[in-house]
Amino acid sequence: MIRIIVSNLIRFSLLVFIQVFLLKNIGYYNLSVPFLYILFILLLPFETPNWLLFLLSFLLGLTVDSFYDTLGVNAAACTVLALVRVIFINLTVQRLSFEIEPEPKLGIMGFRWFFFYASILTIAHHTILFVIEDFSFNDFYYTLIRIILSSLFTVFLMLVAEFIFYRQKER
C-alpha cells in the first residue's frame, strides 16, 4: 500500500516536472501540444476510490494550471478525464477478476486495451482542454485539428513511456 502511494507520488512529481519544464516548450506551431502529465491519472490503481480519483485529478490539473497560468482549464479537463476513466473502466474491466493491486498498465492489461484506454481518455481530456481554452466555437476547425494532432502526440509519448517502464519491469 505504501509502495503504491510512494510510487504514485514520485510519478506525480516526475510527470509534472516533465510537463512544465520540458513538454511546455515542445510543440508544433501550437497545433500539436503534448500533455503527458495525464498519464498519472491513467495509471492510478483500479481500486482508487472515486473521491480520491477526482481530488487527485483536480489537484493535478491545478498544479499544471499554476505553471501554465491558465487557472482552472487543466483542472476542468482532468475532472472530465476522471469521469471518462471511471466510465471506461466500469464498461471494460470486471473488478473481481484481478489479483491484488492491479494497475491499468501496458504490461498488465495488454497493448490493445491500453491503447484504446489511453486514446479515448486523451481525446476526452484534450477536447475539453482546448474547447475551454478557446471558449468559443468560432474557429472550430482549428480547435478540432489541435485536438487531433495533440492527442496523437500525447498518446505516442504515453506509449513510449509505458514501453520503457514495461521493459524495465521485465528485466
Binding site: N50, W51, G72, V73, A76, F135, S136
Partner: protein, 280 residues
C-alpha cells in the same frame, strides 16, 4: 432520505464530477481574463440582442414621425442649397472707349424656364428690372438670336421666344444683302425652322446662304447669326419667295442668354418718331 443517499453513493462518480468540474469552471472564469471577458460579452450580447429586437419594433411604430422629421429636415437643407438662392450678381460688360461710343451692352442671364413645343413659346430668365432689363430688349445667345423681352419684374423677365407668332425680326441674307423679316409659326411649328418673308423674287437665294440680323431695328446689333437657308421656293404670281431657314439657335438646350441693351435706342426712337410725325 436513505434512498437519496443510496442514489448518491451509487452514482458518486457523477456527483464528484459535477462538483469538481463546476469548481474548475468557476476558477477558469474568475481567474482568466479572456474567458471572463468572453463570458461577460456573450451575456452582454444576449441582452444587446433583446434590446435590439425591442428597438426594431419601436422604430417601426415611430416610422411616421421619423419620416415627417426627415422630410422637414430635407426641406430645411434644400433651403440652404446654392440653387435655391437667387443669383443677384449682374454680369454686364461695358467697354469705355472714347473713339467709338459703345452702342450695345450685354447682360448675362440664366434661363429658368423654357418651352419649345407650344404655339407661342416663351422663356423666363433670372434677371429683371433690378439689373437694367426693360421691355422690348433683344435677347441673343452664343449661337444666335433668342427673342425679345416681353414682361419684366424686379428679378425676372419673360422673353417672347423667336418661336412665337408675334415675333418678326428684320433679317438680311449675307450673300445678297437682301433683307426681309423672319417669322415663325405660319404653317410651321418646328422649333428648328423659321421662314424668311419679303425677299423679292429676283434675288437669287441658294441653299446654305447665311442669314443674320440686319441692324435696322435697335433691338439687335447687325450681323448676329440667325441661321442658314434650307430651301427657297419661288411661287408664281407673288412678288416674294418663300425661304425656309434652319435656325442656328438650339432652343431645346438653351441655358445662358445675353440681353442686349442698346444705349442709343431712345435717341434713335425719338428721331425716327419725329420724322414719322413730320411726314404725316
Amino acid at each position: 432520505m436513505r434512498n437519496l443517499l443510496i442514489f448518491i453513493s451509487k452514482y458518486n462518480a457523477f456527483f464528484f464530477f459535477v462538483i469538481f468540474f463546476t469548481l474548475s469552471l468557476i476558477l477558469v472564469i474568475r481567474n482568466n481574463s479572456f474567458q471572463r471577458a468572453s463570458t461577460l460579452n456573450s451575456s452582454n450580447r444576449l441582452i444587446g440582442q433583446a434590446y435590439e429586437r425591442y428597438n426594431t419594433l419601436q422604430k417601426y411604430l415611430r416610422l411616421a414621425q421619423v419620416s415627417d422629421s426627415l422630410a422637414a429636415e430635407n426641406a430645411k437643407l434644400r433651403n440652404q442649397l446654392k440653387t435655391s438662392f437667387y443669383n443677384g450678381k449682374v454680369e454686364q460688360r461695358t467697354i469705355n472707349d472714347t473713339t467709338t461710343l459703345q452702342q450695345y451692352t450685354f447682360i448675362v442671364a440664366q434661363v429658368v424656364n423654357n418651352s419649345i413645343h407650344q404655339k407661342n413659346n416663351s422663356i423666363t430668365i433670372d434677371k429683371g428690372k433690378m439689373h437694367g432689363i426693360e421691355e422690348g430688349m433683344g435677347v441673343i445667345c452664343s449661337s444666335g438670336i433668342v427673342g425679345i423681352v416681353d414682361n419684366v419684374s424686379t428679378h425676372y423677365a419673360t422673353i417672347k421666344s423667336l418661336l412665337h407668332q408675334d415675333i418678326k425680326i428684320s433679317a438680311r441674307i449675307t450673300e445678297s444683302q437682301a433683307f426681309g423679316s423672319l417669322v415663325w409659326g405660319q404653317e410651321n411649328y418646328n422649333p428648328r425652322f423659321a421662314s424668311l418673308k419679303d425677299i423679292p423674287n429676283h434675288v437669287d437665294v441658294k441653299k446654305g446662304h447665311h442669314i443674320v440680323t440686319s441692324g435696322y431695328s435697335s433691338l439687335f446689333p447687325a450681323g448676329i447669326s440667325i441661321g442658314q437657308v434650307k430651301e427657297s421656293r419661288k411661287k408664281s404670281g407673288e412678288i416674294s419667295s418663300d425661304i425656309r431657314v434652319v435656325l442656328s439657335t438650339d432652343f431645346s438646350t438653351l441655358a445662358y442668354v445675353y440681353v442686349v441693351k442698346s444705349t442709343m435706342a431712345a435717341e434713335r426712337q425719338a428721331v425716327e418718331t419725329e420724322s414719322q410725325t413730320e411726314n404725316d
